[in-house]
Amino acid sequence: MAKRIFITGIGVISAIGKNTSETLSSIKTASSGVGEIQYLQTVHKGKLPLCEVKYDNQQLCELANIDPKTRITRTSLLGIIAAQEAWRSAGSPVLGDGRTGVFSGNTVGGMDKTEHFYADFMQDAQSGDIKTMLTHECAESTERIADSLGATGMVSTISTACSSAANTIMLGARMIKHGLLDRAIVGGVDALTKFTVNGFNVLQILDDQYSQPFDENRRGLNLGEGAGFIVLEAEGIAKEEHILAELVGYANSNDAYHQTASSPDGTGAFLAMQGALKVAEIEPSQIDYVNVHGTGTANNDLSEGFAMQRLFGENMPKFSSTKAFTGHTLGASGGVEAVLSVLALQHKIIYPNLRFKTPIEALGGTMIPETALLENQDLTYVLSNSFGFGGNTSSLVFKAYK
């Protein structure tokens, strides 16, 4: 019998709060994190709304308990804050025995610092603070997180666009199942950068208003930033009093349709969801709530909707996109939404899909997400979807610990 995998800690920082309790209260009061750009230096200020974490780097240093004079990226700071919270909520286990892995997902690493350096570098190839480039690689923030926790087991970083963090959760679970690790701190982080904002903007998939996931009149996504981490522990290692939920299913697939667009029939999304249910050994009808990828782009929501209709048929479970709250946090989104999935199970709640008005016609007009906070929900299984560029699709199934 394979070992069960328990979630014993959660930590999150995003536009709607610097920890889980702030996040939860923002959701309960329907306070979205989207707004006018305050922190990122960009010409899009005042034109494109973003979901920024509402602290500058100096303030983040204070939150992370790091000397503000340290050369550190916003990515690392966000990651350290969320991973530390997850670790503390797991009862601050000692991690130095080599049996704890740290796996983090992100898309652009330390690009927030690189783009400042590069402006100098382009003027004169010998100018600019060259040591900035030591923080550029995706792996750097993961190592900073591991070091801040004193973890000495396997450390690795995944970059599969917007499914990065979901894939680290899957990796952690598989490593624990094989007895290679007892514990894994898994999730993801991404900071907003000019690089990403302009990339998504030129792809014409950003909403210049507040996004409306799964709405007929959706116009695109709002980019966000943040980090979400969870602590996975093997059965026998996890202490009863810290168990928040169980990770029972996970799968990864590839849409193999287009570098950036999802296939019209949502093949990759369908395969990922189906695969995760198979690993969980449950039927589609047992899913109580789906935290959809639901970016708010024309393409994603349609494709994901088709895949859900194919999987669930007539018995569509309750679903919502929390990206109307947090924005699309890219490589972090699977981690942020894993934390939200665990919180939903813990607090028996289902989140509202803010700003939804009209169901998507091409989906038969029947796919209506939850629009108000639902409390006292008897939730057993929650499915969380994360899909990304390069066709990467991943799904996770969380189970209530009762």
Binding site: V43, E115, D147, S159, T160, A161, M175, N254, N392
Partner: protein, 334 residues
């Protein structure tokens, strides 16, 4: 459950003649601080209209994937797993420069789309219409090892019969300047390289099998030499091997005291003289080690290994005492 895993196909683009041949008759030496790849004629592998937009790393990644698949006689793939530290550097530079030059205006999406680290793994899936498991690791100098370990887990889980794994990194002129300024690259002591090496791993031996992948492990900031030794012994023990069973050590290290002390009887070669220093150089080392174990004499000569009988081979790379990589390969009886 542990299982036998075989290397059944190879594609290898490196500074040496490793793409059309197993290894060139003459070893190519680096001139200056950088060692560039000998690239094939991509038109043989990729449609002309697609080629035009592709950066070098995408071409190298796709050509080596294609070559390895043909070499392994086109097995259906159950997973595509990529390892790259630097990612798609050229496209990243291109998009970043345009943003800064044009003050965030007049941009085109191609460079951005192709800048993501999972571009190559995604493009391989796209070209082969393959919906299978797809992953990209970006863990610096153990990106390739992360990919290998993931592949091994999939075999152990019975989730795969055939897996494509690669290690890819590209150099650019600008990256070169940065690496020189960071004192990572210089002509005398640290020639920087690049490369794309692709392996087709299989659960079954085939007539084309090169070698058996007997084990792989990575260590993060090990406390001391004893913990590295312990890891080495453990990985060998899991493969039912003893320290003295290792015939050849391919090392990536300038200081070889640790491996020399552990394997006094083994033949040693520093594989980086053939490929230079770069994060996924162990993928190159694995590819040439597989050739060597299959009996290729050119590879043996290039590595300067005189030992007649090579049964078990170990690859060890220690990056700045932070990331350690260990890979063990064994000869397969045909």
């Amino acid at each position: 459950m542990k299982k036998n895993i075989y290397i059944n196909g190879l594609g290898n683009i490196s500074p040496q003649e490793t793409f059309y041949k197993t290894m060139g008759e003459e070893v190519v030496e680096a001139e200056g601080a950088f060692f560039a790849c000998q690239e094939p004629n991509y038109k043989e592998f990729i449609q002309k209209k697609l080629l035009r937009r592709m950066s070098r790393i995408i071409k190298m990644g796709l050509a080596t994937a294609q070559k390895a698949l043909v070499d392994a006689n086109h097995p259906p793939l159950d997973a595509i797993i990529s390892g790259t530290a630097w990612g798609c550097v050229k496209d990243t530079e291109k998009f970043l420069e345009t943003i800064l030059e044009n003050n965030e205006e007049y941009l085109t999406p191609t460079a951005f789309v192709q800048s993501t680290h999972n571009t190559v793994a995604g493009q391989i899936a796209l070209l082969h219409h393959d919906n299978c498991y797809n992953m990209s690791y970006v863990q610096g100098y153990v990106s390739f090892e992360s990919a290998l370990i993931d592949a091994m887990l999939l075999f152990y889980d019975n989730k795969a019969k055939n897996i494509l794994v690669n290690g890819i990194d590209e150099q650019t002129e600008k990256l070169g300047i940065l690496l020189e300024r960071l004192q990572c690259a210089n002509a005398e002591t640290a020639v920087m390289g690049e490369g794309a090496a692709c392996l087709i791993l299989g659960a079954e031996k085939t007539p084309n099998t090169y070698a058996q992948l007997a084990g792989a492990s990575m260590l993060y900031r090990p406390k001391n030499k004893a913990s590295i030794q312990q890891c080495l012994e453990q990985i060998l023990q899991e493969a039912n091997l003893k320290l003295e069973d290792i015939d050849v050590v391919l090392t990536g290290n300038q200081d070889q005291s640790l491996e020399m002390a552990l394997f006094p009887e083994a033949a040693f070669s520093n594989y980086k003289k053939l490929c230079g220093e770069y994060p996924t150089s162990t993928a190159f080392a694995t590819a040439i080690a597989a050739q060597l174990l299959k009996g290729d004499s050119w590879t043996k000569t290039a590595l300067g290994i005189n030992k007649k009988k090579v049964q078990h081979l170990l690859i060890y790379n220690n990056h700045q005492e932070v990331n350690h990589s260990i890979i063990v390969l064994s000869k397969v009886a045909q």
